[in-house]
């Protein structure tokens, strides 16, 4: 089985099968680039992901492993089609996978999934964070995301006024 070494920003190496790694758009490109530039077709590719730390990379690989037999979703799939939407793909396993994570980790996963081009994972993580926004009040969102209002002067009042123009009576 052809393998590939994927190395995190903090130097941890993960040895995974190329078949699995290729389910990430980014890793697939990297492997192909490596193949083209290498004379030895047997050589094991090594890919450094400088933006993702070991803990997060491990989670991405774990997710890929679980979903290795799912059909690959094209990254540019139209959301309106409904197909490939997070809800469709979200299994009990996914829910258990995401349940223990705090919002910070989930956000890091989003970044990683985006960088590695793993659409399915990107969808479910975004959906999770989005659920902390949808239907919530401004204060609830600020609390959940540990954000503070940094509007100056009448900026917030101005935005409220603009919002009133955007809603029907």
């Amino acid at each position: 089985m052809a393998l590939v070494r994927v190395i995190s920003s903090d130097g941890a190496a993960f040895l995974v099968s190329q078949r699995l790694a290729k389910r990430s758009g980014k890793l697939k490109t990297e492997i192909e680039t490596f193949r083209k530039s290498s004379d030895n077709s047997e050589a094991q590719p090594e890919i450094r992901i400088v933006t993702i730390r070991a803990e997060i990379l491990r989670l991405v690989l774990q997710w890929l492993q679980q979903h290795q037999n799912d059909p690959v979703l094209p990254a540019n799939q139209n959301e309106q089609d409904g197909r490939g939407d997070a809800e469709m793909g979200q299994s009990q396993w996914d829910r258990d996978f995401l349940a223990p994570m705090d919002l910070g980790i989930v956000m890091e996963l989003i970044l990683a999934a985006n960088h590695l081009e793993v659409k399915g994972l990107l969808d479910i993580t975004c959906k999770l964070v989005e659920s902390k926004i949808t239907g919530r009040t401004v204060d609830e969102i600020r609390t959940a995301f540990k954000l503070k209002s940094d509007f100056k002067g009448n900026e917030e009042e101005q935005t409220r006024l603009e919002n009133r123009w955007c809603v029907e009576n």
């Binding site: 309106q80 956000m107 890091e108 964070v129 209002s149 900026e155 917030e156």
Partner: protein, 305 residues
């Protein structure tokens, strides 16, 4: 004195705790998150929640005001962003136009929600007309939903999409509540200069001519007239073709101060047969349309601050 290996382990444990603490600190603070993540997430937030998100903090608001944010959404909904001129997209507050176009299609929809009748009645067979008015109600659902209101101008009857009249005056009307349709004064000001365009379609009977009139009224929120434009009688020859005409009212920079009063557009047309004896066929009105279009700037628009 502790044995050396105990001290060693103590130090080791301390180090481990430090590393763990560091690990905890390393968890990305949500404030410092790269914009990409927020962008990815906000892209999925339903439109009604966008108006909460822009109140969270400056970074979020800034993102929502950005053209690229809307470009993606327009693509997903298969809407054409370029219906909105670049200068409107780029102006301060332009995001409100993008939002309203995205959610309510303020610049591309027909504000008159009557269903098109030509499609519903491809080969009009006009039934025998009673003495005053014959009305074909195609969709009574609409009336129950209270979209149209009765009033006593002319001997007006309200129809849903299409009606035929005999030898007495018969009229139809609709009233658009611009605010309810998502076009509020604040937005009107942004899209100046613009025009409200009304189009009417009608036809005479195949065997007799008809007379038509139409009128457009602009009303404020107390239903007081701001502007009334009446159009002269037109005569249509006996034939079954549909005849269309349009009229628009322009609002330019100089009108900016009046916009806060502008709320309803009422459109009515009426018609009757030219001969008074016929009842076999009748004058026909079909769906009319009302749209809001942006106009070209004229030099005088720039003189007004």
């Amino acid at each position: 004195m502790l044995p050396i290996h105990t001290i060693f382990f103590q130090i080791l444990r301390y180090c481990c705790e430090l590393t763990q603490m560091e690990n905890k600190l390393e968890t990305v603070s949500l404030l410092d998150l790269p914009e990409t993540v927020i962008e990815l997430v906000l892209a999925k937030v339903p439109e009604e929640d966008i108006l909460t998100c822009n109140l969270v903090c400056r970074a979020w608001k800034e993102l929502i005001c950005r053209k690229s944010f809307w470009k993606k959404r327009f693509q997903d909904k298969k809407l054409n962003l370029y219906e909105i001129p670049k200068c409107v997209q780029d102006m301060q507050g332009g995001w409100m136009i993008l939002y309203s176009q995205y959610c309510r299609g303020i610049l591309s929809k027909n504000y008159n929600r009557m269903p098109p009748c030509q499609k519903k009645f491809p080969n009009q067979q006009i039934p025998e007309a009673p003495s005053s008015c014959h009305i074909l109600l195609a969709d009574q659902e609409l009336e129950r939903n209270g979209i149209f209101t009765h009033s006593n101008f002319f001997e007006r009857e309200i129809d849903m999409c299409y009606f035929a009249t005999s030898f007495r005056w018969c009229s139809k009307s609709y009233k658009v509540d611009l605010w309810r349709e998502g076009l509020k004064p604040g937005l009107m000001k942004l899209i100046l200069p613009f025009r409200i365009k009304c189009t009417r379609i009608c036809a005479a009977g195949f065997d007799c001519g008809s007379r038509f009139e139409w009128e457009i009224r602009i009303l404020d929120s107390q239903l007081k007239f701001i502007n009334v434009s009446k159009h002269p009688n037109i005569l249509v020859e006996p034939r079954d073709d549909w005849e269309s005409a349009e009229y628009s009212i322009e609002f330019r920079r100089k009108d900016a101060n009046h916009l806060k009063d502008l709320r309803y557009v009422e459109f009515l047309h009426r018609g009757k047969h030219t001969p008074c004896w016929t009842y076999h066929s009748a004058a026909k009105f079909a769906r009319s349309s009302m749209t809001v279009e942006l106009c070209e700037h004229k030099p005088e628009d720039f003189d007004i601050p």
